[in-house]
Symmetry: C2
Subunit: 404 residues, 2 copies
């Protein structure tokens, strides 16, 4: 008789690092405490009106499968979008629609890594990269970046010394989740040089592309796609850009025709992405520039509330995010996981508390980020102002409580 | 310098077996020919009115992520559904919502198989099982079933002699795609005995559960779940049952708590299934029995049109499907792939032709099913009647053309 078997993948696929804290938040709410959620990047901004109207005017019954590559209307709208942001060379077959950026990243790792192969990523990085790597049985090699220089990249030498014969790709998000860092042209040039020299894929996760502050712009890796067509793989998503997280829509953009045909076969295996969401998102071609302009103004304002507010707290170091809607904050405590839990279980201020994300889950190197948290500023200004106040009081009381 | 790498998975993931024929269908349509699609199982039946109304009354903006396990309203509705069909013991944590039955099957294979492990499936089987097996680097061992006995199972000895120390699971769909077979209680008892004796999982793909004819019912493997809680994994889907293919919604039902927690971790890695579709599907608790009664009457009528019509064609053998909306038909020709292509490229009758699915793609054993096609009866009665006529004329002309 065989043993009922669980695979290595089943044994290793990690639980969400926040999951352990959710029951505490639920318990706090049950006890009547208001919890401000600074822990996840689920935007509160409204989706574009043209999408909302289209959704409410839905008139297809039944809801059929879409094409495995993606709904033609959506792919055509995306072509217009990429052309508008400077990449008119992107063709229909360079786009594969996916069920969120998640599916895109999973397929890429499964396609470029055999078990035991390595992917370089700059830590702190988006936690779910670890899950996709487990499924592909690949190893993420985390190169540490630091709060002191706003989590910008280390030197070329630092990066190159981590490359081995098993390295297949360099992976990063830009603008970055969880740091808010937007990489400079010099940094991207360096990555491109390294990838060229060592024969690596560059996987650029650009789901926060529009969310950049100070009148600046994020540079898409598509800028380099024509000069290294087989190496550049861009991951994109409609989730944050159009506040459509729950539509589960993303895409892969690449000029690598062989890999695009591999991705299409992955797409055929799961038939299609969601048809309703795709037709809604296809309306992106009718979304005006003012939609993003207003959002950036709003997030910029929120960012300042968090950064300025946190910086005024004794002993707190807060990097100034250049993009996305996250910031890593270093706290004058030893154990941010304990603090996160304590905020939910042992503290409230006038019946209110906050839930943050301890940053250790975003690091690959054991022990890193233990005194850091990630704050997502996806609440309105008043809620954020109040959250800073609560964190300030919380830190004071926590230090007293833990010293007692 | 490393080579730009493509993984074994990337090299082996198969293209849809129908894909090669789609350009011919598109070409035929461009030339003004009407093509009746008997090749895919995208139902033309309307979704329940209560779901359609809910969708059109959508008022959530933005569309947030759902829970990783699934939208609570949907899970609760599913609990009511399983209770109603005889399984009141199914609890909240026994259900994991997935992006279609596809994602469910992928996660199961990834969780119970390490590379090189084996899954027994009864061929002909749903082609995409091969794709999920490639991703898990597992091997599907196809045990052949035959049209002569309506594709019912071979003897216990036939099955057991294919079990090796690497066998992890027995996988089947019931009612079956592509054969329409509904397994008897004796057959399921046999599978259960084999799984018990050899320590195997039973993966029962029940996405066509309601589609059974002649007043009969399909037996869910949930019937056996309490007596072998760790071994039974049921795959389900809202796609066919509620004509929601494009909503990409399915689920895994199992009493195996360890594996359910693994599936939840897979779920966390991709954040959530689609929120809109889940809230729409949650209305399944308000769908009356008459919805299915009417559908079954309709499919039963369609099935008879195809089966009776095809049986009247010289040399054709047509099994009588007991469920689902597919039937395998054996044709008096050597090469059903060639015939499928010929119907699209070289034939039309009064400007009309049909597209069918050659059955060889549903077999794992090379050379099997070369003279068989699968017909999906998801068109209305008149279209099906006309399709039979076209197939009859097509077969006559094809034989003349190929003999010339």
């Amino acid at each position: 008789m065989n043993q009922l078997h669980q695979s290595i993948v089943a044994q290793n696929i990690p639980a969400s690092s926040l999951r352990a804290f959710i029951p505490f938040a639920e318990e706090a709410k049950k006890n009547g405490t208001t919890v401000y959620h600074l822990n996840i990047g689920d935007p509160d901004i409204k989706m574009p009106q043209v999408m909302y109207d289209f959704l409410r005017g839905w008139n297809k019954n039944p809801v059929p499968y879409s094409h495995s590559q993606g709904e033609p209307a959506l792919i055509n709208s995306l072509l217009g979008y990429y052309s508008k942001i400077g990449f008119p060379f992107v063709q229909y077959n360079n786009i594969q629609v996916t069920l969120g950026g998640s599916e895109a990243l999973l397929w890429i790792m499964l396609s470029v890594c055999d078990p035991g192969d390595e992917i370089i990523a700059f830590e702190p990085y988006y936690t779910n990269y670890n899950s996709y790597a487990v499924v592909a049985q690949a190893k993420i090699v985390g190169i540490t970046t630091h709060i002191d220089n706003g989590f910008h990249l280390p030197s070329r030498e630092e990066i190159e010394k981590r490359i081995t014969p098993k390295t297949r790709a360099i992976l990063f998000s830009n603008p970055s989740n969880p740091t808010g860092t937007v990489y400079t042209e010099e940094e991207l040039d360096m990555i491109v040089d390294i990838a060229r020299e060592h024969g690596l894929y560059i996987v650029s996760d650009e789901v926060y592309r529009e969310f950049v502050y100070n009148g600046s712009k994020a540079i898409s890796m598509l800028k380099y796609a024509q000069s290294m067509p087989d190496q550049v793989l861009v991951v994109d998503s409609m989730s944050k850009r159009y506040s459509l997280c729950g539509a589960r829509l993303g895409c892969i953009v690449s000029l690598n025709t062989e890999l695009m045909s591999v991705f299409l076969r992955f797409g055929q295996a799961r038939l299609s992405a969601g048809t309703i969401g795709q037709r809604v998102a296809a309306k992106l071609s009718e979304v005006g520039d003012d939609y993003f302009r207003d959002i950036i103004v709003e997030y910029d304002k929120r960012q300042k509330i968090i950064v300025d507010g946190m910086a005024r707290i004794d002993g707190v170091v807060c990097s100034k995010p250049e993009g996305a809607f996250y910031v890593i904050v270093k706290l004058p405590i030893d154990d941010a996981e304990d603090f996160t839990k304590w905020l939910l279980t042992d503290f409230s201020d006038n019946g209110e508390t906050v839930m943050v994300a301890p940053a250790s889950g975003f690091y690959n190197t054991p022990g890193m980020g233990k005194d850091e948290i990630r704050i997502a500023y996806v609440l309105n200004s008043e809620a954020l102002q109040r959250s800073v106040e609560i964190l300030k009081k919380g830190l004071e009381m926590y230090k007293t409580a833990r010293e007692a």
